[in-house]
């Protein structure tokens, strides 16, 4: 197994930070080449006095010393981030969390909305056949160039609720069992509707404070009734462990 980089703080310059459909693509220059697994995340500091928590983003792509994130603007923190210009120095902390297991011959990678973010680096990291299944409310959420990047590494199918792009409906209606493993990232509603007998790994999103498992702020309740830390025991969990 690869030796993952120990988390540390990096000050990195923004190389790009621009809208891509309903998301933003942020690329940073790291001062070293690191080893991180798909599904791991970084905490980005929001340089505003009224915001005390960093924001967590899973890795979208990593190439040499360039690190990219794909994010949706949902509140004050991400709005601040989307306003940062090329050349601004961001303070980031990571890589954190466990990441996806990289097994399975024929895999389905299911992304709901901004949940597509960790699946690009995952698709690149998997050795077997990669199939993407992405869903959103409407087609304009997806940037054409962004989709073609995914399509370069696997077969891509799109589902939209208004059928403005691809098939109509929800991604969960189009999941079948012809795969060795399913990887999924998206809202809780999506996870609840995944009905299958094959192994499913999910990446959870929640508010995170320390990021390294100490403060117990980000716990999620398992089906056994235990509390697990999203930042340290996750963010990747077995679907049946949580839902």
């Amino acid at each position: 197994m690869e030796r993952l980089s120990t988390p540390r703080i990096y000050n990195c310059e923004i190389l790009e930070n621009r809208p891509v459909g309903g998301l933003f693509l942020l690329t940073l220059a790291l001062d070293e080449v690191i080893t991180a697994r798909a599904g791991q995340f970084f905490l980005i500091r929001i340089d505003r006095e009224d915001i005390v928590l960093r924001r967590a983003f899973s890795i979208f792509d990593m190439e040499e010393n360039r690190l990219s994130f794909l994010y949706r603007v949902v509140g004050k923190g991400t709005a601040w981030l989307s306003d940062r210009k090329v050349g601004y120095t961001l303070n980031i902390f990571g890589p954190l969390g466990n990441g996806f297991s990289l097994t399975g011959d024929r895999c389905l990678l299911v992304g709901g909305g901004s949940g597509i973010a960790p699946l690009y680096y995952l698709g690149k990291s998997l050795k077997g056949e990669v199939n993407f299944l992405f869903g959103a409310q409407t087609g304009s959420f997806f940037d054409k160039d962004l989709l073609s990047r995914y399509a370069e590494i696997g077969k891509l199918e799109i589902v939209t609720e208004d059928s403005s792009l691809g098939k109509r409906g929800l991604v969960t209606q189009y999941i079948d069992d012809n795969y060795a493993r399913i990887y999924a990232c998206g809202p809780a509603e999506m996870f609840k509707n995944i009905k299958t007998d094959i192994p499913v790994e999910i990446s959870l999103e929640t508010r995170i404070a320390c990021g390294f498992g100490a403060c117990r702020g980000c716990v999620v309740k398992t089906t056994k009734g235990e509390y697990k830390r999203v930042c340290k025991d996750g963010p990747v969990f077995d679907l049946r462990e949580i839902f």
Binding site: V52, R54, F93, A209, F212, A214, C215, R216, G217, K232
Partner: protein
């Protein structure tokens, strides 16, 4: 430069307050002790506590509400961290809480035997555990403190809740045998979750409360509340506070103690 808390020598007046860094295992695997003068691990209870259901944290403007509920693996597991605490180049003070006087007494007896623990911070003020907030009555503060005093020989700091007119509560801790005080725990608050508010939002309140009582108390005080910068530390020290605890700021900058100390040492 050095600081003294009832005989505990600190190389800086910056204390890692109980909570944000857990018991320290995960944190010290990544970060050095640089800038810190004292480490207080997350509160230990006699038995394991599973804590409160999620969501446990929520951001507010300039603050953070938390309701962790003292989740911890209990005294037996905590004792296994002896090698870590011995390896640190700063003293370690243990934070403890009990739901009964008997629990407090047992914790005190066991920790009294640990020569690598410099003192105890008696947490009487967790706002997130039902029925365990000793801080709400001067009598129970006295009882809890004096119970620990009977069995624990090294310094005891009592951590109290913020109160309008806090003096009677503080005096009960002093009469119970406290050597020092940690003022204060988080401020009770609610956005969508009920919990304790921390961060820059509470600092002006705590500065006022401490300003009102500092010259009436002649034992050391560790202040806690919204310390994010060297100037925040100076605001507390100008009131005659002996050391300051850092908490929520670790979430913004895990190396906050080093950052603050770099600036602070030139200002003292």
């Amino acid at each position: 430069m050095s600081w003294d808390l009832c005989g505990i020598k600190l190389r800086t007046p910056l204390v890692a307050g109980s909570g944000p860094l857990g018991w320290g295992k995960e944190f010290f695997e990544i970060f050095p002790t640089r800038g810190l003068g004292l480490f207080i691990p997350k509160t230990v209870t006699l038995n394991r506590k599973i804590g409160n259901p999620p969501p446990r944290i929520e951001e507010t403007v300039g603050g953070l509400i938390n309701s962790i509920g003292l989740e911890n693996d209990g005294l037996c597991e905590w004792l296994k961290l002896e090698p870590l605490y011995r390896s640190l180049d700063i003293p370690v003070m243990s934070s403890i809480a009990g739901s009964t006087l008997e629990e407090i007494r047992k914790l005190g007896e066991v920790i009294n035997e640990l020569d690598y623990i410099a003192g105890i911070e008696l947490n009487l003020s967790c706002p997130n555990v039902k029925g365990e907030n000793w801080s709400n009555s001067p009598d129970s503060i006295f009882e809890a403190t004096s119970t620990l005093r009977k069995v624990y020989k090294r310094p005891i700091f009592v951590k109290l809740a913020p109160k309008d007119n806090p003096l009677p509560y503080i005096m009960s801790a002093v009469e119970g045998g406290a050597d020092g005080l940690t003022l204060f725990n988080t401020f009770p608050a609610c956005k969508t979750i009920n919990g304790g508010l921390s961060g820059p939002a509470i600092k002006p309140i705590y500065i006022r409360l401490l300003g009102e009582i500092r010259d009436r108390i002649n034992i050391p005080i560790m202040a806690s509340g919204g310390v994010f910068s060297a100037s925040d530390v100076l605001d507390y020290m100008n009131l005659g506070i002996n050391a300051v605890q850092i908490g929520t700021a670790f979430f913004k900058d895990p190396n906050i103690a080093e950052i603050i100390w770099r600036e602070l040492k030139n200002l003292l």
